[in-house]
């Protein structure tokens, strides 16, 4: 079932989803919304009710899919824990892969593009040293990182590095991070991959 909530502001799309889901005992619905705030609210709503949800970003709207009922075989807590997973922590400490810099940047872009296309995503990415250029002023890779973030990957950029390169006001995706994130990340995640 598709619920077209485009044109409505908060909290109407959530109420429309709630009503649609109340009419089915199990199954999925798709809610179309034209503002990111409503997409985020629908994710909160689904998590609260232990429904599975994902968000697909289309050109000028968001499609939020919510599934009710089918997750009954997986205990809710286990399910919730899986969402902000702690499997793979990716550290990008450079804006180029390998020695030849121009080639290195092409490879970096290709790396993220492939990661996105095959949905082989880490759970968090931490950018540091020259890697912070990717989350600030790099117009080629930045859009890919933004999409990867929308797919649920947490993005952090080293605050000290931003300051060093005078890029503090340029951060365009994710959050500022500190060495705490790095230390905690390496400790908590099952696997850390360091590039650069």
């Amino acid at each position: 079932m598709i619920v077209d909530a485009r044109g409505y502001g908060c909290p109407k799309p959530v109420l429309m989803a709630e009503e649609a889901l109340s009419k089915i005992t199990e199954g999925g619905i798709e809610i179309l919304v034209d503002n990111e705030a409503s997409a985020n609210n629908l994710k909160r709503f689904a998590a609260k009710n232990n429904f599975y949800s994902d968000v697909i970003k289309e050109e000028n709207f968001w499609c939020v899919r919510i599934v009710k009922g089918y997750v009954c075989e997986i205990p809710a807590e286990e399910y919730k824990e899986k969402k902000p997973g702690k499997d793979l922590f990716l550290v990008i400490a450079t804006d180029t892969i390998g020695k030849e810099e121009e080639l290195g940047r092409i490879l970096m872009k290709a790396y993220f593009e492939t990661m996105k296309a095959y949905k082989e995503l880490p759970d968090a990415i931490f950018f540091l040293n020259t890697g912070v250029k990717i989350t600030t002023v790099d117009n080629e890779i930045l859009p890919i990182i933004k999409e990867i973030e929308e797919m649920g990957v947490e993005i952090f950029t080293c605050g000290t590095c931003l300051k060093f390169f005078n890029l503090e006001s340029e951060l365009k995706v994710g959050f500022r991070g500190t060495t705490n994130h790095l230390v905690e990340g390496i400790k908590e995640f099952k696997k850390t991959v360091w590039v650069g």
Binding site: C10, P11, L15, K48, G159
Partner: protein
């Protein structure tokens, strides 16, 4: 920020007596009349956020006074601003709104001196408020100093609760509590604060705690650390936030602020929603030297402000950044 971009295209006159203009994103404009007296001017109006017209009048008026209090001033006069759909709503509705506003004006110790109304498809109400302050005692975003403690005088969550109200999710008691919170003047908090003397102050409104704290961090060239577990929150706000009852403004605040945020890894998204929640008629965020903080807290508690909590600290580095712990 669209408005900032638009304002940046305009050139504003500088005047030696214009003490606070629009440059520092402060709450109101301040103009020196004499060496002892400066004029504070502000206006604020918006569309209804509660169903009862009398309550809406109270809330809109309370919100309009807030800017004068945040500057450390004393309000003197107020004027009504009314946009009213005369063909669709009856006169009793307008009367109730104005009655609510008038009661707040009296509570603030100010006088109503007039106003202006226009016909409009959408109802809007608010006030233009004029107050005074001693030119040496103006409180702005720019005065916070490393070592200060940050104190908040109302709990957060009015944006989330108002959205839940719009969604028909609030019971009578929750609605009533929300209304009274938004209709509580920051008068007591401001009087305690100006008696004691503090370094900086702003009122928490549309940009949420994060947005307004960021304005202080930038204008004062300091770093602000917020202890999220110390921040007072309306009891049902977390529940409603997790149900997806979050206004668009709060999401936008979070998006706008996050490049200046240094968050601890374990911060959960709902806490972020609360800290960024766009407030209507929110409390004062006061930056006070540590040695005066006890006195300020005791004063606030004595006057029964809706909250009186130390929620953070001011550091010198990293400048212009909010650290959330």
């Amino acid at each position: 920020m669209d408005l900032t971009e638009i304002l940046n295209c305009l050139t504003f006159d500088k005047h030696p007596d214009l003490l606070v203009g629009i440059e520092t994103s402060d709450d109101a404009g301040v103009y020196r009349l004499t060496p002892e007296i400066a004029l504070i001017q502000t206006l604020d109006f918006f569309t209804p956020i509660v169903n009862d017209p009398y309550d809406f009048g109270r809330i809109a008026a309370t919100n309009a006074f807030s800017d004068v209090y945040a500057m450390g001033g004393k309000p003197l006069t107020a004027m009504n601003i009314v946009c009213f759909p005369i063909k669709e709503l009856d006169k009793d509705t307008l009367r109730a709104i104005l009655q609510g506003g008038l009661e707040v004006i009296h509570k603030a110790g100010a006088v109503m001196v007039g106003g202006h109304s226009v016909e409009d498809r959408e109802l809007k109400y608010g006030l233009s408020v004029t107050g005074i302050v001693h030119p040496d005692k103006i409180l702005t975003n720019a005065g916070a100093k490393p070592g200060d403690l940050l104190i908040l005088t109302k709990p957060l969550g009015t944006g989330i609760l108002s959205t839940a109200l719009k969604g028909g999710k609030l019971n009578e008691k929750q609605t009533c509590n929300l209304t009274e919170l938004m209709a509580t003047l920051n008068k007591d908090a401001a009087e305690v604060m100006t008696d004691i003397g503090v370094n900086a102050c702003t009122d928490i409104t549309g940009f949420g705690l994060l947005g307004h704290a960021l304005e202080i961090a930038k204008a004062s060239n300091v770093s602000i650390r917020i202890y999220s577990d110390k921040v007072p929150v309306i009891s049902d706000a977390i529940e409603f936030a997790s149900m997806g009852m979050i206004p668009e403004g709060s999401h936008l605040n979070q998006k706008f602020c996050r490049q200046y945020l240094d968050i601890s890894p374990e911060l959960d998204p709902i806490t972020g929603d609360i800290l960024a929640d766009a407030q209507t008629s929110g409390g004062l965020l006061i930056s006070v030297p540590e040695e005066k903080s006890k006195q300020l807290l005791n004063g606030l508690i004595e006057r029964k402000t809706p909250a009186a909590k130390v929620i953070g600290e001011v550091f010198s580095e990293p400048k212009g950044v909010i650290q959330i712990r």
